[in-house]
């Protein structure tokens, strides 16, 4: 590819402007305050915090710069705020609310006292405060995808460029397509969307397809309930993804592309739109990129919310205005897809890694992680752990490290029971296997799947049968209906599981369930059906005794299944005169006995658990009992219930 000599010069000019702006931002004599305003931050009140900073600064007559940044991944500590005072290191403050915002302005900005009570750490080496990198979570993390997330303004393209962004794209403009693909092959990058297909091979197939000019698509249709890393990346640093997509287009020879984002992510959509505009206006995308003669038109497509559209062929059908139903493969979309043309579909995280590989060299990438699964992966760890959020770790990190070292262990001192990995397509890995390293093959052997990287931590109070039922309810609802086994088989499986969780199951049901699971796996076209039985199969494999308790003793050992569990107030623990539980009961099922102690009227109880939470910790009188036949009758006949 004969590259006109002025492309590097034009980019150098853009870089110069970017670093000038970046320096101006940090060398500005005014204090700089950044607030993390990705969706999770906003949900925790980041918007109000921004407003509080503005109002209070105006009231105090302080001249400060207030900027928005993306998500740093520490969702448990949101809203996160960074304050950089001139001549001091930037400090990261966690769980900021409007009151703390005002205090920060008063102590730090006005008086220069760093207000160490709420500091999480410094964002550079500092004498006063240890840097955040010394926190265990940062220590284990290796950030490639999330490197700039939460540290730059996602709506400012110059900040990404100042951090080295778009260098890899400019380098790729001077490379042959084969060279780009060879770099990825040497790095050993595998698709981060779930299946782990080698990225370089996919690109190669697409490039060599004889069916016309290729199209590239970034798959941001993150439908897996419990996973949100793609949203966070698109909201916090959309340019890195666009850069990866543009490099993909160069490698396969595409001049058109789509970024496919779920409509449920309005902020991500807004930021991607802005990023596309900014990149085009600087000439990094669009016609004649940086004077190189290469054209690339990238558009945003809003997906309408169908889990199955994460599957490539279904995604393509939805762009064509059809119902999102998968079609048989081959031909694979990389060979023949959208409009009959070769179509490269890559996940958000895969594309975000591409610029990193081309920039740092493939050796630095393949040196991270394991031999068969090199590099890093972003996991969203949520559920019953202390510090939920996004973590990017080298593949091969063990589950134990992830839960205990990185995410702070279990919440509320409950026992660690299992991890649900990979969402509806994945499975449940029991605590006994917590030393399993996370890579594509090992997880598959354990019956789970990397999937999109969603991990839900389950504790002793989670019923595994109920978890399996939940996922089947989800996949059953999302089945597009094309294949009989997926459409009807999952429905039958769901009915069996519902029967079991409501205490109407029989031991034979378990066998039938396994048989059906095998059939659904084999009789489905796409991975939605082929992996839908995974949650059931893994729970049957690792937690069979829990299923047996449900069908044989009509008992839910985790005390979760509502038909099998009753709430009971222990009279010997209940404090006469305490009314804490009564007011919280949404159905007025708690009444006062003659002894003035409380009891639950079982017919009215909806088993919401509010009374357990309301009962003061010194009494802990409300307990769950399973099977329901074990519940003792109330001691005294109830009295004066309707007397007033």
């Amino acid at each position: 590819m004969g590259l006109p000599s002025d492309t590097p010069a034009r980019f150098a000019q853009i870089q110069e402007e970017a670093s000038r702006r970046w320096k101006a931002l940090w060398q500005d004599p005014r204090p700089l305050i950044t607030v993390g305003t990705a969706t999770c931050g906003l949900a925790q009140g980041a918007g109000e915090v921004m407003g509080a900073f503005r109002d209070a600064a105006a009231r105090m007559g302080l001249d400060v710069q207030i900027r928005e940044v993306g998500c740093i991944g520490h969702c448990y500590a949101e809203p996160l705020v960074t304050v950089k005072m001139p001549g001091m290191a930037p400090y990261l403050y966690s769980r900021v609310n409007p009151t703390k915002a005002e205090l920060l302005l008063r102590y730090l900005v006005q008086d220069g006292d760093p207000f160490l009570d709420f500091v999480m750490g410094a964002l550079q080496e500092d004498e006063l405060m240890p840097p955040v990198w010394d926190l265990p979570r940062f220590h284990y993390e290796k950030r490639l995808i999330l490197e700039h997330c939460g540290l730059i303004d996602p709506e400012e393209i110059h900040q990404y460029i100042a951090k080295g962004g778009y260098r890899a794209l400019v380098r790729s403009l001077s490379l042959q397509p084969e060279e780009i693909i060879a770099e990825l092959a040497a790095a050993g990058l595998r698709g981060r969307g779930g299946a782990g297909f080698p990225t370089a091979r996919k690109w190669e197939i697409c490039r060599k397809s004889p069916y016309g000019i290729p199209i590239v698509i970034c798959n941001g249709d993150e439908g897996d309930p419990g996973a949100y890393m793609d949203r966070a990346v698109l909201e916090s640093n959309p340019h890195q993804v666009l850069e990866g997509l543009a490099i993909a287009a160069l490698a396969v020879g595409a001049s058109e592309g789509y970024v496919y984002v779920r409509a449920e992510y309005p902020l991500a959509i807004r930021r991607v739109k802005k990023a596309l505009q900014d990149a085009s206006s600087l000439g990094l995308l669009g016609k004649d990129m940086l004077g190189s003669g290469v054209n690339l038109d990238i558009r945003l497509f809003e997906g309408s919310g169908a889990f199955v559209c994460g599957e490539e062929t279904a995604l393509i059908a939805s762009i064509q205005g059809e119902r999102g139903m998968p079609r048989p493969r081959p031909p694979f979309p990389a060979e023949r897809g959208l409009g009959g043309r070769p179509t490269l579909v890559n996940n958000v995280k895969t594309l975000a890694l591409v610029p990193k590989i081309l920039e740092n060299g493939n050796g630095s990438f393949s040196g991270i992680g394991t031999d068969s699964s090199p590099g890093t992966m972003v996991f969203s760890v949520v559920g019953k752990c202390q510090q939920p959020g996004l973590v990017e770790v080298p593949l091969g990190t063990t589950l134990r490290q992830l839960v205990f070292d990185i995410c702070g262990g279990m919440a509320e001192e409950k026992g660690f029971k299992a991890l649900q990995i990979g969402g509806p397509s994945g499975g449940c890995v029991p605590a006994a296997l917590q030393d399993t390293p996370m890579d594509y093959e090992t997880l598959q052997e354990a019956g789970a799947m990397m999937g999109s990287g969603g991990i839900v931590v389950l504790d002793e109070e989670d019923c595994m049968v109920e978890v399996a039922r939940f996922f089947l309810e989800f996949t059953q609802g999302e089945s597009c209906g094309k294949c009989t086994f997926c459409r009807i088989g999952t429905r039958q499986m769901l009915e069996l599981l519902t029967r079991i969780t409501s205490g109407k199951g029989t031991p034979e049901d378990l066998e039938l369930l396994e048989e059906l699971a095998r059939d659904v796996k084999q009789g489905s076209l796409c991975n939605l059906g082929a992996t839908a039985p995974n949650p059931v199969l893994t729970t049957l494999r690792y937690f069979r005794e829990e299923y047996l308790a449900h069908v044989q003793e009509k008992k839910c050992p985790a005390l979760q299944c509502r038909e099998l569990t009753a709430y009971y107030i222990l009279p010997e623990r209940c404090a006469a005169g305490c009314d804490a539980c009564v007011g919280t009961c949404p159905t007025e099922a708690i009444y006062t006995m003659r002894t003035r102690k409380k009891a639950v009227e079982q017919d009215k109880c909806v088993k919401c658990g509010e009374c357990v939470r309301a009962c003061p910790p010194e009494y802990r009188a409300v307990v769950r009992i399973s099977p329901v036949t074990d519940v003792p009758l109330p001691e005294a006949p109830r009295a004066e219930k309707n007397s007033h």
Partner: protein
């Protein structure tokens, strides 16, 4: 009512004209219709079918396939209870039931005064704050994390107070 109808038809016409009459624009067209009216009225789907020269059944087929589209008018306050995995293990179904009880409607329904509609959504991507409820009003969405049944009552009362004193009455 008739003038309103006419106005709505004009609005839709303007919106449709901004698209090329191509099948690939079907979903974006439906999305912009929903942005206009909050749902897809039957006459609107007929207009889209005419504009694209496809059978109405095709349009209806696409509209019912995707979760984003709703075929009934939403309430002024659209309550969305997240039922993703993280929310589920934190018992979001209890929150959903509390809304059902408090509003006297089932999931998918709208209250008779059109003030509230209630739906469950798969995952809003705020799993660290589970259980989560999103309340949408005039295209602004407010997220409520760490929901409890007692908070449901508070949210309903807040809206009722605001609306009771508002100019809408």
């Amino acid at each position: 009512m008739e003038a309103e109808d006419k106005e709505a038809r004009l609005q839709l016409e303007r919106s449709l004209k901004s698209f090329e009459p191509q099948r690939t624009n079907l979903i974006p067209m439906l999305q912009s219709m929903q942005a206009l009216f909050g749902y897809l009225p039957p006459w609107g789907m007929e207009e889209v079918a005419k504009y694209l020269s496809v059978p109405v059944g095709e349009v209806y087929g696409v509209a019912t396939f995707y979760n984003q589209f709703r075929l009934t008018p939403p309430g002024k306050y659209q309550v969305k209870v997240c039922t993703g995995t993280a929310c589920h293990v934190k018992r979001s179904y209890v929150i959903l039931e509390e809304w059902e009880r408090r509003l006297g409607i089932k999931e998918g329904g709208t209250t008779s005064d059109r003030l509230f509609s209630l739906e469950k959504v798969a995952c809003v991507g705020c799993c660290a704050l589970a259980p989560v409820v999103v309340v949408r009003q005039d295209s602004t969405e407010t997220f409520y994390g760490h929901m409890m049944t007692s908070k449901v009552n508070g949210l309903v009362m807040e809206v009722e107070r605001k609306e009771g004193n508002g100019s809408t009455q």
